[in-house]
Amino acid sequence: MSSHDSHAQGHHEMGFIRKWVFSTDHKVIGIQYAVTAMLFLLFGFFLILMLRWQLAHPNTAIPIIGGFLPESWANGGVMTPDFYNVIGAMHGTIMVFLGVVPLSVGGFGNYLLPIQVGAQDMAFPKLNMASYWVFFIGGVIMFASFFLPGGPAANGWTSYPPLSVVAQNGQTMWLLGMVFLITSSLLGSVNFIVTGVQLRTKGMSFFRMPLFVWAQLVTSFLLLLAFPPLEAAGVLQLMDRVFGSSFFLPSGLIVSGEKLTVSGGGNPILWQHLFWFLAHPEVYVLILPAFGIVAEVIATNTRKPIYGYQTLIYSMVFLGFMSFFVWAHHMFMTGMGTNLSNFFQATTMIISVPSVIILTTLLLTLWGASIRYTVPMLFALAFLPMFAIGGLTGLPLGLAAADIHLHDTYYVIGHFHYVVAPGTLFGLFAGVYHWFPKVTGRKTNVALGKLHFWISFLAINGVFFPMFFQGMAGVSRRLYDPMVYAHVAHSQGLTVLSSYCSFILGAAQFLFLANIIYSAFKGKKVESDNPWESTTLEWATATPPPHENFPTPLEVFRGPYEYGLTPKGYSPQHLQEA
């Protein structure tokens, strides 16, 4: 009897591990991804706050935290130049590869894509689990590199050789970590594509799929096609570092007065081509899922169909395709002549067209709407002008002549942060608030949510808008001490403004954390499985959804955004009678 009891006990524990740790359920994996990614986002954000302190108050001790850092990072509490570069590199790497992509693709994509197409799980559930754990190992490697004697990588998230090859051991860890992160993305993207193509339920034709699913599919293709070259490049750089090859090192290098004993004959620019061949599509990987989320939230809260649904899809597909032909606009200053640069300037102008179309269709959707100002809708609406600023400021950077002055300045930092921070991050916040009731069965607190929105919205503009003036003034990025150059010190006032706004932004995130943690356990229970009165399939199942999503497979009868056509106001996809 007792042996039977302990057996049951063991079985139960197995159950917990199977259910929450080594789960093959796409929803659990999605939550695992989302939680891990949010922790990394917090970490990456915390790093940059220390950096902003150093910029606002150069050479003064970082309050409180400074005392806890090792001597080599903060001398008497004052950040060292080496640690500054560590932060720059690791903030970028963490935010992109361990924060935004895992949250938007691994988290939202995993949770929602199968449900929204009416599937019972991913096509390859075990591959899905492997993808999370490979990602996890990559994250552990990146995090562990902070405990190396020489510290982690400090060569920018771009890791340009020769600097990255002659650098400390942290760079080797960075490369190893990247190999895992890339592998994980590849496993994930194969799964997403097969699921989206093969596991659609009856009636779910391609042009009845929600825009979120389209966005994830395009994203998966980008990951699948763009990451392998970087994985190869990463391995080559690893060879250069560990086994003395010289793929990226020319002959005759003299570092710190010593001739470098390497075989030479390599080319540092090769790395940049391989890196940007990934990293440009990567920026669309960062933005497309946010487009998808924003489209869902806007459709639900305008109570009318998305304007130009098919146009939006074609634009996203075209955007994805074109993103493979613009990479060298990051490299105009490397010594490129006019032939190559004319090609890349032209493709860059072309790619701006679908971006403008996407923005325009979402704006036109507002016409004739009945806008419900819910918390997710506030974030989704704010996404539009923020993304517009990010997109428009890309124009001067895409024209080589203007880029002469703006390249590698704070103008670039301002530009892409408008896309990824008040852009993508706001899209992700919208997603968290929108789907939270479905995932947890509980509502978030509206007042806290609105407070979180307004403070974040004002503060984040205070962080990034001044950067355009500074960039135009010629302030280079990655500068540890802003008082060395006269042209940099001249806008120190803006640096201080930007830093203090980032501290306020940081403080506002406690409202978010408090809200979601409290609401997950103690929030008001939802009364309905479809609290927002939405049309897509995730709202057609129980809350939270059961393991197999739909006890009996659903049939789909209409497109995803049929709002306002019947007196009820919305027509769920799975109901035959609208």
Partner: protein, 269 residues
């Protein structure tokens, strides 16, 4: 260095002068090709602003007019709007026009319209962690041989003084003198990692890539003392890889050469 006591310096948006070349936004431009770049940057920003304000007004109008309220019904009819299509095409035409008629010519001239080396001052700029070595060919206009095996603490470019052409060569560190109103050709290299040679007041930027020689030309039309910045992360002291950029009157430039030659002959005695 300018001391900024207040949050916003008085000259943040004032017209730039050689005495006060920096502020919030574009610094003073003293290069002949820079006007085209500034014009391009300005036009693009006016265009962006116009689009943003247009979109923004429409957006705010929608937010108010179409807010949910009792008695207000959404209109789901997918009426097709013509205006956005025109706008779309307009944006595309603008982009093509600006690329073809302004951006490409300005860039083409920056990349291709090199003066004849006989009519220009030619210098070699070798970047290293964390300094700019400037090598002038001297009166003979010919660069002496350099050899990486000769590089040491003082001969940072490995100049072979035994070479006849090298006898009168001058080199300086973190100090680039050029005469005003004369075209300059700079050959840009790096000894170690990638740096980027940036002259904010000249609208000149060129990566210094090891294993490669890049070439830029520029011409200053005002004298003054300005900065050379490194625009590419090159290690832990990237932030202080600052050089002086001096645009001299022809007389002052001659004086600089004479001074350097004197120092050279004293050193070789």
């Amino acid at each position: 260095m300018t001391e900024t006591t207040s949050w916003m310096p008085a000259d943040a948006f004032a017209p730039r002068t050689a005495e006060s070349p920096y502020g919030w936004g574009l610094p003073l431009n003293i290069s002949t090709h820079g006007a085209g770049i500034d014009q391009l940057i300005n036009i693009l920003h006016w265009f962006c602003l116009a689009l943003f304000v247009g979109w923004g007004l429409y957006f705010l109008y929608c937010l108010v007019r179409f807010r949910a309220r009792p008695g207000h019904q959404p209109n789901p009819m997918l009426n097709h709007f013509k205006l956005p299509t025109f706008l779309e095409v307009g944006v595309a035409i603008f982009e093509v026009a600006i690329l073809v008629f302004l951006a490409a010519p300005v860039w083409g001239s920056y990349k291709n319209d090199f003066p004849d080396e006989k009519d220009a001052l030619v210098v070699r700029i070798t970047a290293e962690q964390f300094a700019w070595n400037v090598h002038y060919p001297g009166r003979d206009g010919k660069f002496g041989k350099t050899d990486i095996n000769l590089i040491d603490g003082t001969n940072t470019i490995g100049l072979d003084r035994n070479d006849a052409d090298a006898k009168d060569d001058i080199f300086t560190i973190n100090n680039l003198h050029i005469p005003v109103n004369k075209k300059v050709i700079a050959y840009i290299h790096s000894k170690d990692v990638i740096h980027s040679f940036f002259l904010p007041v000249m609208r000149v930027k060129q990566d210094a890539v090891p294993g490669m020689t890049n070439k830029v030309w520029f011409e200053a039309n005002q004298t003054g003392s300005f900065e050379i910045a490194c625009a590419q992360l090159c290690g832990n002291s990237h932030f202080r890889m600052r050089g002086q950029f001096l645009v001299d009157t022809p007389e002052a430039y001659q004086a600089f050469l004479v001074e350097e030659e004197k120092a050279l002959s004293e050193a070789s005695q």
